[in-house]
Amino acid sequence: MSKEIYTDRRSFLKVSSAAGGGLLLGFNFMACETKPDIAQFLEPNLPIPEKWNTMNGFLKIGENGIVTIMSPNPEIGQNVKTAMPMIVAEELDVDWDNVIVEQAGLDTELYERQIAGGSQSIRFGWPGLRKAGATVRHLLVEAAAKELDVPASELTTAKGVIYHKASDRTLGYGDVASAAAGLEVPEEVPLKDPKDFSIIGTSQKNVDGFDIVQGKPLFGLDIYEENMLVAMVEHPPAFGMKIKSMDDSKVRSMPGITDVIRIDVEPEGWNPQWSDVNAYPELIAVVGKTTWEVMQAKKELKVEWEVDTELENSSNHTTAMADLLKSGKGEVARSDGDVDKAFAAADKIIEQTYSAPFLAHNTMEPMNFYANVTGDKAELIGPIQTAQFLETTLEAVLGLPKENVSIMMTRMGGGFGRRLYGHYATEAAMISQKVAAPIKLVYSREDDMTQGTYRPAYMVTYKAGLDAAGNLTAFHIKGAGIPGSPVFANRYPAGAVDNYKVENYKVETNISTGAWRAPRSNFIACAEQTFLDEVAEAAGKDPIEFRLDLFEKAKNNPVGEENDYDAERYAGVLKLVKEKAGWGSDASGVSRGVSAYYCHNSYVAQVLDVEMVDNTPKVKSVCCAVDCGIVINPGSAKNQIEGGIVDGIGHAMYSALTFKDGKPGQRNFDSYRLIRHSEAPDAIDVHFVDNGIDPTGLGEPSLPPIGAALSNALYKATGTRHRSQPFSEEVNLLG
């Protein structure tokens, strides 16, 4: 049997050797209009076009039929750089093997919403990407009709070739691309019937996969421009502290060091945006020739810090949330029926509290950015999930007009929400402006982990009332968080319980927080789905049947008007996972837990099997059912689901960031525990619901429910409920 040898032809990043021997990365995609330097990235049998015809912001077609598709959105590992171009290619009706993918830079005129966040790239991109491909296909057909002198309606297309059946003539897209580029663009064009899709729904490999396995320069940290200096910043050691004074005399004399400066990225009178979250706007920057020299020099900075605001402690955080939840003075977010009356009449009442600590994002590639600010121009290259917001910030901070600021997004070594907050890019720009040189700002792991922008800490108390028949008659949720509540008042089981109330509480903090993969859902799903398991047990019902009964109620006789879920699709994934996991046929020695959640417009249900080995849990397998509508790229969609599951198990089980006197207690991976190889499930089995509904995202939805599938399985295994994350730190579980 012959073995396929994988070679690359998919994606390129223009790389050329600089005269000085340094490595230069050029990202200006518009510069490669005629002769792109892509020979090294193409298969020998995929000839390089002599001329590219720019069709629109998404498409360039070579005279030989090779197509370049721009991927508009930032790539953080969610694989939109493959999926989004697949959608364009589908409607263009081109052979995917003849497609090259390029990452687009920030261009707010050409593209909409160039953001990686909220699992929304595919959902929002879907109509525009289809239209971009279909419009160009339409123009190519029009041009071919003229060339062949036949009506366009007699032409069909397939794999980049236009056919005229009656005369048995064909034209390649490349033959008519130049003529098509000059035609008037129609307002509306017909889209394909999804049943005719030939690329969407097929598994296509990551367009950067071949470069990744060869260690090609793809990431922000890999940028080395000529004459570039390296900068690192020193921020206060604790939240609540600021710089009092500094002595940089020793540092300045150290080898390779060119500058030590102070910066403040929040100029007076500036009005920050949501993406400008930053606990430490005032910083000291050390600039030098090489990373190691700057790292060494930074250690020798003598800084005197002063206390500015309260230095917080984790123990006080826990007490503050617990006290608030008991105060009864929350902000009521929703109230259906009368919970107090219903609890008074209840046959059984169950009440439990769940909590989780702050978490760091810990993208494997630490924060970094390249900036070259010269006179009235700024060029920035690096990992950013929100380039368009960064552009606005830079305009204000640098005092430059938007049109003089260019931002190129590199592939990111993880995002998870951390790179929604682009302060590090602003810092890089400001340092470059001050030292008048191109610089790459590099955060060490310690700088990255102690800087802030964490997942908030949470605590929630659930109370449920059951009648004598085990029906859920009352449900009361009190949620607290630092700095805000994790509860979504209109999510399940809202709408399924006659008497339902949500109260929110918040604890103020000077620790900066932000969106962390599936914000709020990442905690509340685990708490809610663990609690429902406890309630189902108290009701004497099977946990899946108990949940399905509630969906029936929400579907047939919903309570309230605003219920943020489709009960039928929600129940659908639970039924599918029940069938696929063979629920009810537990193997000996294995304990199972179930969980389901809806967030970011997609539905996920999971069954997790755990085995106790030497008093330590080992996750054997996870069966997962997903409803995200049409699946663009099934292989990579499964990868996302698997990743969310491993990530969710890891953080629920092992990870925490704690504070003492404002100082993070974990600074690197020796003390901050992340899940490792042996702790991952042996097998993950993913099933998608096939319903033809427009697609929704997958970057986040598989993470939130898995913590509860784990805790529910652990309860079966050990008899102990795990309500406080990370579970490994709770007694009687070695982890």
Binding site: T7, F210, I212, L218, N362, M364, N668, R676
Partner: protein
């Protein structure tokens, strides 16, 4: 500063650096071999894994002076064209998500397979435990290692 001769991916390279500089930063900053990644700087995450005389080491924590007279292999030198069985298996299983840790994972996996052509699950876990993947591609990595073992 010292003038050192390093054998990197089969070639002798001259560098002028402080001899305490970790191999990682010599590769990245001085030799423009950026496939070897910085992740933690304290040998806890494995992103910087290279082979030193065929053994997987964390290049962030080994001074360049320790590499003199030894053979350094980085991800760029594992094969000329991505044809190493481990690289091929990674493509077959479409392992990467963000991709940042994968060079280190591949270097650990290839060192394991050079030493043990058909490792058991627990041997794979043991050899790979030092490589963190924040995206959670562990199950695919394990499957890819088994494929590579079969195809090598």
């Amino acid at each position: 500063m010292a003038n050192l001769t390093l054998n990197v991916n089969g070639e002798d390279r001259e560098v002028n650096v402080d001899s305490s500089t970790p191999i990682l930063w010599v590769l990245r900053d001085h030799l423009q071999l950026v496939g070897t990644k910085y992740g933690c700087g304290i040998a806890q995450c494995g992103a910087c894994t290279i082979h030193l005389n065929g053994t997987a080491v964390r290049s962030c924590s080994v001074p360049v002076s320790a590499a003199e007279g030894k053979k350094i292999t980085t991800i760029e030198g594992l094969s000329d064209d991505g044809s190493h069985p481990v690289q091929q298996a990674w493509i077959e299983h479409d392992v990467p998500q963000c991709g940042y840790c994968q060079a280190g994972q591949i270097m650990s996996a290839s060192a394991l397979l050079a030493d043990n052509a058909s490792p058991s699950d627990s041997q794979i876990n043991e050899a790979m435990q030092g490589n963190i993947c924040r995206c959670g591609t562990y199950t695919r990595i394990k499957a890819a290692i088994k494929t590579a073992a079969k195809n090598a």
